[in-house]
């Protein structure tokens, strides 16, 4: 009921333009509130990642990383940390960044200037083998994506097109496994990986994930929309089943395949618990597990943690910006299919 109250005066129907100025303003106002809520955490992450360890302790916080300077005579400036402010006396206790010397100066002697410490990124990067973590994640992701595409297309084709006894029941069994949370089966999975000799190897991160039930589901739903007549005609023309899948079905399913690729990339890049349990050493450890360990070890170095968070999400965000139209359209189509 709340929804009707809020939406009461707005034109809610799609398809024709809002005419009233106030309603239109409301729409943009609402959307911008959303934009701010979505974007501020990212901005705050970037901002913190460029601050000094002293500056992050300042409260109220600065939006843009700022350096404080006091004159050292002859037009040169010393960068200082503000140790404390005495508002009644109008004075500030400052400590020189370089020498560590402390002094008390009048408030108007301290000049502020934007100071972005990109060095935090280098420092964070060098404190853990992040390059290796990156490589591991990219390597694993590529293989998982390729594997998922192959296994899901084949399985979805069988579920959508072929007739065999128990087909729909089997499919329901597959689907019901999506309802079991990972922590439930992680120990038995570990045992299987040990028996295969795969613990702490790339195989442990790749092979169990190259079959993705949700992708099979998406593709099956889409394959079902392709008319049976087309299939029968093709088969009578002597087209093999595989050729039909390869030459006709898959080209017709590009949007869904892109969606599958996106789900798989995002899922693999960001998976956490499985690689946490299945890897032990940095040579196969993926980025997210490395990042989590990094943040445990940093304790309270928020600027380094934010820098590491920023560079670990950057690749997917950049990729997303380049392909966002395609991505969103694909996801939208896939959503309609299910």
């Amino acid at each position: 009921m709340e929804s009707t109250a809020t939406l009461k005066d707005r034109d809610l129907n799609a398809g024709f333009r809002l005419r009233r100025g106030a309603g239109r303003f409301g729409v943009y106002a609402g959307l911008w509130v959303g934009i701010i809520v979505m974007i501020v955490p990212f901005f705050w992450m970037m901002s913190t990642s460029l601050k000094s360890p002293i500056e992050i302790l300042e409260f109220p916080p600065t939006w843009i990383p700022t350096g404080h300077y006091v004159s050292a005579g002859e037009g040169t400036w010393d960068e200082v940390y503000v140790v404390s402010r005495d508002e009644r006396a109008g004075s500030v206790t400052v400590r020189r960044v370089e020498s560590g010397a402390e002094s008390v100066v009048a408030e108007d002697q301290v000049k502020d200037r934007i100071r972005l410490r990109f060095g935090n990124y280098i420092e964070a990067w060098n404190q853990a083998p992040f390059a290796r973590y990156y490589f591991n994640t990219i390597f694993v992701t590529l293989f998982v994506v390729a594997g998922v595409l192959v296994t899901s297309s084949l399985a979805a084709y069988a579920f959508a097109r072929m007739k065999f006894r128990g087909r729909d029941n089997l499919f329901v069994v597959f689907l019901s496994m999506m309802m079991v949370p990972q922590p439930v089966y992680i120990v038995p999975s570990y045992i299987i990986l040990v028996k295969l000799g795969w613990v702490n190897t790339y195989q442990a991160l790749i092979i169990p994930w190259i079959a993705h039930i949700f992708s099979i589901f998406l593709l099956r739903q889409h394959f079902k929309t392709i008319p049976n007549d087309l299939y029968d005609a093709a088969i009578i023309d002597g087209c093999s089943r595989f050729a039909f899948l390869w030459r006709i079905m898959l080209p017709l399913s590009k949007a869904v395949l892109v969606a599958v690729v996106i789900f798989t990339i995002v899922g693999t890049w960001n998976s956490f618990l499985w690689p946490l349990v299945m890897t032990n050493t940095p040579d196969v450890r993926p980025l997210q597990v490395g990042l989590a360990r990094f943040s445990q070890e940093q304790g309270t170095n928020h600027e380094l943690m934010m820098a590491a968070a920023a560079f670990s999400i950057a690749p997917l965000i950049v990729a997303y910006f380049f392909a966002q139209k395609q991505i969103i359209q694909s996801l939208a189509t896939s959503g309609m299919k299910s």
Partner: protein, 324 residues
């Protein structure tokens, strides 16, 4: 080959071919899902400590489970979480999708930004939000101070929000059973909604754009006001999409784990165990020294039955109201 070809043409060879097509995915699913899940459920009839089976106990783990207050409280916490995330996420994403569907300028921009959190990792997002929720230096308390409010403890606040609201109103007493979810859990819920809303918006938007214009034309000719148009045209025609979003958000919410693992504590599930959701509880019980994997498996089976019956319930009851 001739008879094979004939058979093929008659389409009775499907079972064999189907097996071939199903094998790649099937092997993986059987080896890495069915067998582990099956063995986890079998283990619920055993006593399993530190990785070894100590004996068959029948239904004892289940009997113990029903007397375990932490099991019930973690189930309650999970219910709070699901009830907090699902309706709010649905409402906000539908609202955003409806607004975005107003033929506004710069649709791509809004859509892009709303979707941004979906492609980020939970590890990074948890780190960022923990810093935003920081009781002393966090951005959120800065905003509160800016708006004239006091600062809150957020992820470290074990008190229920209703209890806190009552306190803020000056009531000195509030029934303990009605304290509500802790503020810490609310903080976790906020992040879950923030991160997941973009996907739901995209799905809703596609659903809205799939509604043919002539329905709106007809409604307009009949003199319907915008509100009537929404409830009589948009809402029913959107119902398959709403149903899909409802179902998928519910299933995912019941399984929440990583976010709790990364955002709360130490100890995880805190403060005072008020964010200990059921999946984390079974993880802790099954996987920590001093725990019992048989017991955790019993919890897992109960959870599975809950999710399954909810899904079936949603299919039976809600789907009947869905117009295809």
């Amino acid at each position: 080959m001739t008879w094979l070809g004939n058979l093929k043409r008659k389409k009775i060879m499907d079972p064999l071919t189907a097996v071939l097509y199903l094998v790649p995915a099937g092997v993986i699913v059987v080896v890495f899902r069915m067998i582990p899940i099956g063995s986890a459920f079998i283990l619920s009839f055993f006593d399993v400590k530190m990785g070894r089976i100590r004996g068959f106990v029948g239904l004892a783990q289940y009997a113990r489970l029903f007397q375990d207050p932490t099991f019930w409280s973690s189930l309650g916490t999970t219910a709070y979480y699901v009830v907090g995330v699902v309706p709010l996420s649905l409402f906000l994403s539908l609202l955003a999708a409806v607004l975005l569907n107003q033929k506004i300028r710069g649709l791509g921009f809004y859509r892009t930004v709303y979707f941004l959190p979906v492609v980020t990792s939970l590890v990074a997002v948890s780190m960022v939000w923990k810093w935003i929720f920081h009781p002393r230096l966090g951005l959120l308390n800065y905003f509160l101070g800016f708006l004239g409010g006091g600062s809150l403890q957020w992820l470290e606040e074990p008190r229920g929000i209703f209890e806190m609201a009552a306190g803020a109103m000056g009531w000195s007493w509030w029934p303990a059973g009605l304290a509500g979810p802790s503020l810490a859990l609310i903080a976790v819920i906020v992040v879950a909604i923030w991160r997941g809303i973009g996907y739901n918006i995209v799905i809703f938007l596609a659903g809205l754009q799939n509604i043919p214009d002539q329905y709106y034309e007809a409604a307009r000719i009949d003199g319907a006001n915008p509100r009537q148009v929404f409830w009589r045209v948009t809402w029913p025609l959107l119902s398959p999409t709403t149903f899909y979003v409802l179902l998928s958000t519910t299933i995912v919410s019941f399984q929440v784990f990583t976010q709790i693992y990364l955002m709360t504590g130490p100890p995880v599930g805190g403060p005072m165990g008020t964010t200990k959701v059921i999946v984390y509880y079974l993880f802790e019980k099954g996987f920590d020294a001093g725990g019992n994997m048989g017991y955790a498996s019993a919890v897992a089976l109960v959870l599975f039955l809950i999710i399954l019956s909810l899904t079936l319930f949603q299919r039976r009851v809600v789907e009947r109201r869905v117009y295809y």
